[in-house]
C-alpha cells in the first residue's frame, strides 16, 4: 500500500505538525477482492481524520513491525494513558477514594479497595503525602482518571505505597521511556554503579533508594544529567564516577 | 408539545421541507440542543435562521445628537445590537513630542447590562481589544487630522473622549462602533477658544460653535467564517460564538482599506478575502449615504 | 454589617417587650445605652475622639492638611472621610465585607457633614489656591450595633477637639504668595461645631420604633431610618436602610422622634465636651483600656 510505503520511507525522519499522508480511498475495499486491508496502528503524534493522516506533534517517526507507527517526541507534561504505571502523591482522603496527584491536568482517584488484600474492614494504611506506585485503569479525556494498585489477578505486583526513605524527583518524559525500555543500557549501567531500588513512573517521576543518602543523591544527579547526554559522553561520565571522581 | 427533538430526525425533516418550513416544527429545542447543526442546516440552503441571505446586513438605524450633555452623540442599531457613542471635548496640554497635535481617546465599554456574558468590573479582553481596534482605525484612516485639534501650539489642544457603550450585544459590535463614532464625530460641535494675550488663559465662547473637519469616512464590515469555508456577513451573537473565525474589513470612501483585521481563527484563502473587501466597499457607500441622510434630516429639523 | 443569629422565640420576646416599652436591657424605646466620650486621645492628630456606646467602640482622628480647593467651590475647604472597618471589630469585616461597609459609612458621612453644618469657608486660606483639608479617619474598634450614631458623635467630638494652626499669608518679592504656619502651638483656629448634626438611627420593630438598637434588636427589625439632626432640631439628612418598607405614617413618626431625641442629645454632649476641655492638662487620661 502506498501509505505504508510512504510512511516507511519517512521512518527516522522528523515530522512536523501538519505533515500529511493520504490514506487510500475506501473504494479499494471491494467485496470481490478477498485481500483484507492491512491493519495499521497509529500511535502518539499521529491522527487520522477521514482520509488523511496528519502528524500533530513534532518529532521523529518510528515504526514497529508489522504496521505500528508513532512519533517520538519530547514532552514534559504528563497526560494520563490507560495501562501506564505512574508515581503519584496522595493529596486527599475522602469517603472511599484517595485523590492522587500524578502531574496531569486532573487529580486521579484511587479506591480504598484497589490494594492487594484490601476489604471494607481492612483498609490500607495510606496517609496524605504518601507516594504510591499505581496503574491507570481509566484514563480518557472525558472522565476522571482512575488508578489501581493491583493487577488483573488481584496481586500487588510491585504496586502500592512506598516504604520510608528514598528520594523522588522529576525528569522529562523521554528519559523515563529510555529508562524503561527493555534494551536500556542506561539502566544497566546505573544498576551496575549503584545497586538499590529505582521506581520509574511514566509520568516522569522517579523514586530512588540506595544504601545511603549520599549514593541516592549521586544517583539522582546522574539521572538528571543524563537527560541531555550522548551515550559516549555518558559512558565517560559513568567511568569517572566509578573511579570515584565525583 | 415536543420537549426535545432528536437532531438527526430533524435534519432529515429539514432537508425535506427546506429551512423556511423549519419554523413549524419545534425549532426552539433543536436550536438550543444542537445550535451548530441548526445553523448549518440553514447555511446549506444559503440562508440564515433570521431569514437573511449570507451577504445581507441587518437593518441599520441611526439616531444622531440624542444626548444633549455630550458635545456629539449617536446611537446605532444594527438589528438588535445597539451602540451609543458620546463625545466629550476637553482642553489639555499637548505632548512635548507632538506639540501641534490634539488627542482622540476612543474607549469601548461592554457593561454587564448589554449581555449576560459580561461581568461588572474592569473591561473584559474583548472590550479592550475593541478599544484598541477603534484607536487603530482612527489612526490608520486619519478621520480627523490631529493637527486640527490644536488650539495653541505646544500649549493648548482639544481632547476628544469618544466613549462607546454597548446597550444590547447581539454580535458585530465593531461595525456598529465605527458607524456610531463617525456619526458622533460628524455631529460634534466645539466651542470657540481664544487665548487671552495678557493672562495666557484660554477663553471659551460657548455660544459660538463649529463642527469638525472629517477627512475620511471609514466603514467596517464584519464577517464570520463557518466550518472553515462559508462566509457570512454581519454575524449575530449566536453566530459569532458558533463560527470559527472573525474578520473585519474597514474601507473608506476612496475604496482604500484602513484595516483588515482577523485576530486568528481558522484560515481563509485569498479569494475569500477579496470577496470580503468588495462587499465592504459596497457597504461603505450604503452607510455613508445613511449617515449623510440622517445628518441632513437633523439639520433641517433645527 | 455585623449580624447575630436570633431564634424565633427570642424575636417574639423582644417584640412583645418593645410593644410594652420595655427592652431587654431595661431601657425605654427612646433611651441610649451608656455612652463614654474622650477627646484628644491620639497625640499625632490635630483632633481625635473615642466614643463607646454600649459595646460599640469608635475612634476618630482628624488630620488637617493644606490642599487645593475644588474648582467648583474655590472659596471653601472640604472634608474627606475614610472609615476603616478593622477585622478586629468582627471577623466579618475581613476582606470585602469590611471594605463595602466602609464605603457605605463614609458615603453617609459625606452627606451628613456637608456645608450646611460646618463653616467650610473658614477653612479657606486663599481663594482658588489653598485651603484646609480635613481628613477624618474613622476606625471601628468594636461592633455592637448602632454604628452610625456612635460615629457621628465621635466625629462631632473630634471636630470640637480639632486645632488647626493659624496661617499667615505674606507676599514675597515676585508677587507670589507665601504661606507661613504659626509656630506657637496655642495659636490655632477651632472649628465651630455648634451646628454639626448627630445621627439618630430609629429601628422599626413591630409597630414601634426604638433608638440605639442592639444587634439582637436589629435582627428583629425590617427597616430603620437614619435621621441626622442639628442642635436646633433641623434635619440634615435622612435615609432608609434595611430590606423592608415602611408606611408613610410611621416614617413621619420616626422623623419626629428622631428630631426629638437628636435635639436632646446635643446639649449634654456639648456640655460634656466643654467640661472636658476646661480640665485642660489636669484631665486624667483614660485611654483605650480604661
Amino acid at each position: 500500500m502506498a501509505l505504508i510505503e510512504d510512511l516507511k520511507q519517512r521512518v527516522g525522519s522528523v515530522l512536523l505538525p501538519g505533515d500529511e499522508f493520504f490514506l487510500p480511498t475506501e473504494d479499494n475495499l471491494t467485496l470481490t477482492e478477498l485481500r483484507r486491508p492491512e491493519r495499521l496502528v497509529f500511535g502518539p503524534g499521529l491522527r487520522r481524520s477521514g482520509g488523511r493522516l496528519t502528524a500533530v506533534k513534532g518529532g521523529v517517526l518510528r515504526h514497529k513491525e508489522p504496521n505500528v507507527f508513532w512519533i517520538q517526541s519530547q514532552q514534559k507534561r504528563y497526560v494520563p494513558a490507560k495501562g501506564e504505571c505512574v508515581v503519584g502523591v496522595v493529596t486527599a482522603k475522602s469517603a472511599d477514594v484517595f485523590k492522587v496527584d500524578v502531574g496531569g491536568s486532573e487529580q486521579a482517584s484511587l479506591s480504598y479497595l484497589a490494594f492487594e488484600g484490601a476489604t471494607k474492614r481492612n483498609r490500607p494504611n495510606v496517609q496524605v503525602g504518601d507516594l504510591v506506585y499505581a496503574q491507570f485503569v481509566v484514563a480518557n479525556k472525558d472522565m476522571e482518571p482512575e488508578l489501581v494498585c493491583v493487577d488483573s489477578s488481584g496481586r500487588a505486583n510491585g504496586m502500592g505505597v512506598f516504604g520510608g526513605g528514598g528520594l523522588m524527583f522529576t525528569v522529562c518524559l523521554g528519559l523515563v521511556r529510555r529508562l524503561l525500555s527493555p534494551s536500556s543500557t542506561l539502566r544497566v549501567q546505573l544498576e551496575a554503579l549503584f545497586p538499590g531500588e529505582l521506581v520509574v513512573g511514566m509520568n516522569g517521576r522517579v523514586w530512588a533508594r540506595c544504601a545511603d543518602v549520599t549514593r541516592t543523591l549521586l544517583l539522582f544527579n546522574l539521572i538528571q544529567s543524563c537527560e541531555s547526554m550522548a551515550p559516549t559522553q555518558r559512558d565517560e561520565l559513568f567511568r569517572r564516577v566509578q573511579q570515584g571522581a565525583l | 408539545m415536543h420537549i426535545v427533538c432528536v437532531a438527526n430526525a430533524n435534519l432529515q425533516l429539514l432537508s425535506l421541507v427546506g429551512p423556511f418550513c423549519a419554523k413549524f416544527i419545534p425549532v426552539c429545542s433543536y436550536r438550543t440542543a444542537e445550535p451548530l447543526e441548526y445553523h448549518r442546516s440553514f447555511l446549506k440552503e444559503n440562508c440564515r435562521p433570521d431569514g437573511r441571505d449570507l451577504s445581507e446586513f441587518r437593518t441599520t438605524t441611526l439616531n444622531i445628537g440624542s444626548i444633549s450633555t455630550a458635545d456629539g452623540s449617536a446611537l446605532v442599531k444594527i438589528g438588535n445590537t445597539t451602540i451609543i457613542c458620546g463625545i466629550k471635548a476637553e482642553l489639555a496640554n499637548p505632548t512635548v513630542e507632538s506639540p501641534d497635535k490634539g488627542y482622540i481617546v476612543p474607549n469601548v465599554d461592554l457593561p454587564p447590562l448589554c449581555s449576560s456574558r459580561f461581568r461588572s468590573g474592569p473591561p473584559s479582553e474583548q472590550a479592550q481589544a475593541a478599544s484598541q481596534f477603534m484607536a487603530d482605525i482612527i489612526e490608520s484612516s486619519e478621520v480627523i487630522r490631529a493637527e486640527d485639534l490644536c488650539i495653541d501650539r505646544g500649549k493648548l489642544c482639544w481632547v476628544l473622549y469618544c466613549d462607546m457603550m454597548c446597550l444590547d450585544y447581539d454580535g458585530n459590535i465593531l461595525d456598529a462602533c465605527i458607524i456610531a463614532l463617525m456619526a458622533a464625530l460628524k455631529n460634534t460641535q466645539l466651542p470657540e477658544v481664544t487665548i487671552n494675550k495678557e493672562t495666557s488663559a484660554p477663553e471659551v465662547k460657548l455660544e459660538k460653535k463649529h463642527g469638525l473637519t472629517i477627512q475620511k469616512h471609514p466603514v467596517g464590515s464584519s464577517f464570520s467564517v463557518f466550518d472553515d469555508s462559508i462566509l457570512i456577513v454581519d454575524p449575530t451573537a449566536e453566530e459569532e460564538i458558533l463560527s470559527t473565525a472573525q474578520l473585519t474589513v474597514v474601507t473608506d470612501e476612496e475604496g482604500r482599506l484602513c484595516s483588515a483585521h482577523k485576530p486568528g481563527g481558522t484560515s481563509l484563502s485569498g479569494e475569500k478575502l477579496q470577496e470580503c473587501i468588495s462587499r465592504a466597499t459596497a457597504r461603505q457607500k450604503e452607510i455613508q449615504k445613511l449617515i449623510d441622510k440622517v445628518l441632513h434630516s437633523v439639520k433641517s429639523a433645527e | 454589617m455585623a449580624t447575630v443569629q436570633v431564634s424565633e422565640a427570642e424575636k417574639v420576646y423582644i417584640l412583645h417587650g418593645i410593644r410594652d416599652d420595655l427592652r431587654a436591657d431595661g431601657r425605654g424605646c427612646e433611651d441610649y445605652r451608656h455612652m463614654e466620650i474622650e477627646t484628644d486621645v491620639v497625640s499625632n492628630t490635630d483632633g481625635s475622639a473615642r466614643v463607646t456606646l454600649g459595646h460599640t467602640a469608635v475612634l476618630v482622628g482628624i488630620k488637617a492638611e493644606i490642599g487645593k480647593p475644588r474648582p467648583l467651590v474655590p472659596n471653601e475647604g472640604y472634608l474627606e472621610f475614610f472609615v476603616d472597618c478593622s477585622a478586629n471589630a468582627t471577623p466579618e469585616f475581613e476582606g470585602r465585607g469590611g471594605e463595602e461597609l466602609g464605603i457605605e459609612l463614609s458615603n453617609m458621612l459625606y452627606k451628613v457633614f456637608n456645608k450646611h453644618c460646618l463653616d467650610l469657608r473658614s477653612l479657606c486660606i486663599s481663594e482658588g489656591e489653598h485651603c484646609w483639608l480635613l481628613y477624618v479617619d474613622v476606625l471601628l474598634l468594636q461592633c455592637d450595633g448602632n454604628l452610625y450614631d456612635a460615629i457621628s458623635v465621635a466625629v462631632k467630638a473630634a471636630l470640637f477637639n480639632t486645632k488647626i494652626p493659624r496661617v499667615h499669608i505674606s507676599a514675597d518679592e515676585d508677587g507670589g504668595k507665601e504661606i507661613e504656619l504659626s509656630d506657637d502651638p496655642y495659636d490655632c483656629m477651632r472649628v465651630d461645631v455648634e451646628n454639626v448634626p448627630c445621627i439618630v438611627t430609629l429601628c422599626k420593630i413591630g409597630h414601634r420604633h426604638v433608638v440605639d438598637a442592639t444587634l439582637q434588636e436589629k435582627a428583629c427589625s425590617v427597616a430603620s431610618v437614619l435621621v441626622s439632626v442639628t442642635h436646633s432640631g433641623s434635619v440634615t439628612c435622612t435615609r432608609k436602610v434595611g430590606g423592608g418598607s415602611l408606611d408613610p405614617e410611621s416614617i413621619f413618626e420616626m422623623i419626629e422622634a428622631g428630631k426629638r431625641v437628636g435635639k436632646s442629645l446635643h446639649a449634654p454632649l456639648m456640655k460634656l465636651l466643654q467640661q472636658e476641655e476646661s480640665l485642660g492638662k489636669r484631665r486624667q487620661k483614660v485611654g483605650f483600656l480604661g
Partner: protein, 289 residues
Amino acid sequence: MEECESINVCLREFGCEQSLLSRPDGSASFVQGDTSVMAGVYGPAEVKVSKEIYDRATLEVLIQPKVGLPGVRERSQEQCVRETCEASLLLSLHPRSSLTLVLQVLHDDGSLLSCLLNAACMTLLDAGLAMNCLFCGVTCAIDADGQIVTDPTAAQEKESRALMTFAMDSTDRKVLMTSTKGSFSVQEVCVFFCFLLVEVLSMCGSAGGVGHHKIKYFITVRVYRLYVFHSSTAAAVYSSESESIREDLPVLQRLSETPILQKPLTESQNFPFFAILVFYQIHTKSYRL
C-alpha cells in the same frame, strides 16, 4: 502584463532556541534582528472552575511588555495570538484543562507581533502539544515611496505608510490572522498576498542520547515576488531534503547551540537540514508595482 523580476527581499537574521527554561512545560525564545521574545507554556493543567470549558482546553495568552504593565495594546495582541493558537492547536484533546502561554517581550525593534506569533508557535511545538499545523507570522511595511519592506525595524515601521502583519498556516498556506495599520489600496493588499511566500526554510534537529531528540526548527519567512496573474489555484512546491537522524549523533553542548541561531547553517555542522519551500499564491486580477 509584464513579468516581474524577482526582487531581493529579505528578513533580518533570526533565530530560535527551544527548551531553555526548566519550569514551563515548553519554552522558546525567538529573535528577529533586534526584536526578541521569550515564551513559555504551561499545561494541560488544572483549570479554574470559572474558566472551564466542557469540550476543550482553555487557552490563556499573557503578553508582558519590556517595561511597565500590559495595557490595551498588549490585550489586542494577546487576542490575535490566542485566536491564532486556538486555530492550530487541537484543544478538544484536553477538555476541562488549561493552557497558559506567557510571552515576554525582551526587546522591540519592529515586527513585534510577528515575532510574538513565531515564538508562540515554537513554544507550543516544544511543549509537544497536539497541533493541526504550524504557523508563522511576518510583518510587511509600505514606505512612503510605495516600496515594500519585509520584517521592518522600528525605524522603518515609523516611516512607513502602512503596516501589515499576517500569520499563515503550514498546511493549507492560508491566512490565519491579519492585522493592519495605516491605509492602503486594494491593489496593495493583493500584492502583499502575492508576496507572501512562506518558506519553512530550515528546520534542524540535533539528536543526542539513546532515543532522545532535540529538534530545532527554524522557520524562515521569505517574501518573493510572484509572477502569477490570473491563476486561481494555489500551487505548492514542497521540496524537502531530509536526512534521517541517527540515534547516537554526537551531542552539541548546550552553550554552543546559541550561536547557531545567528549563523547560517552549513553542512559541516552536521545538522540534518530540511528546506521546505512553499510557494503561496493567490488569485489576483492585476497589479502593478
